[in-house]
Subunit: 220 residues, 2 copies
């Protein structure tokens, strides 16, 4: 069970008991979603934007247009940071002070390189699509050269990371427990609704297995 | 119907047809969630962290510990940027290239000031809790002085902003429409599950109206 090295950069200072540097646990957080918030500097201002990603081992892949301002800034900086969080519950305490949320959050610090190699670039794009919905890539019309050449693919290799997880109930002051105030949690979850077919699909084309599986897995 | 001024900083370059600078539309995106990704610079590295916020007009409020590294960095920088996105659907095209997501995303550029005034600070904290779940604050045990003094409250006044919204079906190449490949969208939504009472609550204490209302509004 490997862990990321702790440094000034990634050490969790607030609520250190909720922190983890465990590689597998952080990978689980990454694999539970496909959109991360990537931070970059624009004229000295820190900005973050949501980006779809895929993961292969300790590397994440992003893609975008060749003119994407953020991707170009990341390439110049040669490094990036990405944060992803899953919101799991509202935590409603008896005092405002102890209100909180349950969540799983990870922040990564990565190097940045452009993926130029053809096979590697294709594997990266497959990984991004299949990270969104497993099994999709192999059912698609293959990429053509124009599409391939107009897509910028970036590899983020994780150098270090940290995560924070809150997964418990209300933590109130002892003195407040007798108060006639409702406390508890309201679980939250991102769910999938019934897939909606493109209106131009041939009527006889059935919903494929990977779409049905995605829906069944995520509908509740 | 007012709009934010467009500048180099907030102009949406990729997919400008999906961009909006409309104040009301951006406020709607802000009000549809309560966690935003706030970016800051730490030793020249851009990092973002999820933060709960509340909104009053063109001002957002954050709170945290007096020692919160990010909040202290924002106070020093006197400005910040925040991004919030709601993921609405997977968009599954016939080619990998046209895969996308439906979403509502806003990026704000704000000034930063510390809220010191007692009434204003209390109003800001009420607004953060009620933004999470409307009607909650007035049911709570009032804040005590120790809690109040150990909480840092930051006002972010929106200086400019932009948003991007994708809300449509699959946009495939004409040549691909005849292919026997399933295409369509899978809607996604963050829903609330049944509230879970704190085990220490007196049995006779009923679930209050604001919790029931939140659940009913968000359960599907």
């Amino acid at each position: 069970m490997s862990t990321y090295t702790i440094s000034e950069l990634n050490q969790v200072k607030r609520g250190p008991k909720r922190a983890t540097y465990n590689v597998e646990q952080i990978n689980d957080i990454l694999d539970a979603g496909f959109v991360g918030y990537v931070s970059y500097n624009y004229n000295g201002k820190a900005i973050c934007l949501p980006m779809a990603y895929g993961r292969i081992d300790n590397k994440l892949y992003l893609h975008g247009s060749l003119k994407n301002r953020m991707l170009l800034a990341l390439i110049e900086a040669k490094e990036a940071s990405m944060t992803i969080m899953h919101l799991d519950a509202l935590v409603l305490a008896r005092s405002g002070f102890h209100h909180s949320v349950n969540y799983r959050s990870a922040t990564l610090f990565t190097s940045i390189t452009v993926v130029e190699n053809k096979e590697k670039k294709e594997a990266a794009l497959k990984c991004v699509v299949d990270h969104m919905i497993p099994g999709r890539w192999d059912t698609l019309r293959p990429m053509n050269l124009k599409e391939f050449n107009s897509t910028l693919v970036i590899e983020m290799e994780i150098q270090t990371a940290s995560a924070k997880v809150r997964d418990e109930g209300v933590l109130d002051e002892k003195n407040d427990l007798e108060l006639p105030i409702w406390a508890g949690i309201i679980p939250l979850k991102q769910v999938a609704k019934l897939p909606v077919r493109d209106s131009l699909l041939p009527k006889q084309l059935r919903t494929p297995k990977h779409v049905v599986q995605y829906y069944k897995k995520n509908k509740t």
